[in-house]
Symmetry: C2
Subunit: 261 residues, 2 copies
């Protein structure tokens, strides 16, 4: 039986300000909770109705946010459907609601000089941020950087859209201009004007920056870009969706690396 | 002053069954109405409050659905904000609501043998269908085919997500298995297993088929595919979003054609 205070606490996590204050986030839904458990994400608590089969899943790659893949330490708290309806953020509650700890990982100095990083500069649509985590995961990027004005990594929409990649990718929220200062790896800016993405040389180490859906790259980040790359288009559309553009550049980066091997 | 019957008629168009019966569709919003006018889409009626500046825009590429780019024949009907609130489908009405004619274009025999076609096999998310129209437009594909179980082309969400490409692309709703029977151009199926998209030969004529978000290609369409292509992935994500996968294959098709020229 949940107390009124517990219900209030759980409901409050739908808002970013309360998530930040508590250092906790919430996700709801059998699919997303299952995806994160499968990826080894260490939830603190899982509220579940009798409909939800307790599967102490935990076989996953692990990541910096899921250090102990294989052992799911979450406390399973059985609730009634009526209790779930009170703690749920949705009009149609699901059988599972999970609480995880927010971790903000500092960016180790010099880390951007090695491997492939995807940096998101003011991507405000939560679905786009989640989809971009999935793109970075598909192409085995080493990390994702979010500028502070991106959609909140710990919002349900971002986590849902990432299809589990949230638990597998290492993500840092940082000032991109500061992080890119002194970066010795090429900084590629995806833009409407630049070198064709088909002419990229093989790059083992690089940072790919994707700008805001409407405004593109912010001026202080654009100043750190060492190579603007563009996707040759031929038709009437003015631009491509940010996540599609990122996917195409990532594919070209992987293609040129494979050719060079 | 709108009559009650007019208000009922306009409101009914939010549902596909009423759109089909009337042969009409509705879009709302300054941005989307402006985008379609700019692309030369011949609306029948535009309901506008005093906030909406009448711009008889019409400079666009034109398409089979906008045959008379340059001349916008729409009747502009001024309404009050209160009237707009009654005809709008949204809780927050916009200053412009436009009515257009639904046109279902038959697929001319043999047309798939020439040029590049994008075929969507049961893409059910309206945002994905609209984004895929935008991808086809960016890469100057000649046409888009929708299977009958795709999201409705004339829904507001599809049209919004297309960012104007709805008015520029020629779209046919057809049984894909029937349309692909007898097609002499290569039929590429985007799949998790197949030849690497990086190894595609230059193809001047091809049909690229994108399957349902969860199920992939339907069996009767997969039977018509002459070459399964896959996007090399290296990380933990199980799949890519359908529109991102399509964008990557389109980019590779255009890249190999450019190299061959």
């Amino acid at each position: 039986m949940l107390t009124k205070a517990e219900i209030t606490r759980l409901r409050s996590l739908r808002e970013k300000i309360h998530r930040e204050a508590a250092g906790l986030f919430v996700v709801e839904g059998t699919k997303v909770v299952g995806e994160l458990l499968a990826a080894g994400f260490p939830f603190l608590e899982i509220y579940a109705t009798a409909e939800w089969p307790v599967r102490l899943a935990g076989a996953g790659k692990g990541s910096s946010r899921s250090p102990k893949a294989g052992a799911n330490p979450a406390a399973i708290i059985r609730v009634t459907a009526a209790e779930m309806a009170r703690i749920s953020h949705f009009p149609t509650p699901s059988p599972a609601l999970a609480i995880g700890r927010i971790s903000r990982e500092p960016l180790p100095p010099g880390v951007l000089n090695g491997g492939l990083s995807l940096a998101l500069d003011g991507i405000q649509d939560a679905g786009n941020v989640g989809t971009l985590l999935r793109v970075a995961d598909w192409f085995a990027f080493d990390r994702v950087l979010l500028s502070p004005d991106c959609a909140d990594l710990y919002s349900q929409k971002v986590i849902n859209a990432s299809m589990g990649s949230f638990a597998r990718m290492t993500v840092h929220t940082v000032s991109l201009a500061d992080a890119l200062a002194g970066c010795t790896a090429p900084v590629l800016g995806c833009d409407l004007i630049g070198d064709s993405v088909h002419a990229l040389p093989p790059l083992r180490n690089a940072v790919l920056v994707i700008g805001n859906e409407g405004r593109g790259l912010s001026p202080d980040v654009a100043a750190r870009v060492t190579r603007h790359v563009t996707i040759p288009g031929h038709g009437g559309a003015e631009s491509l969706n940010a996540a599609i553009a990122a996917g195409i550049v990532c594919d070209n980066l992987r293609r040129t690396l494979a050719v060079a091997q």
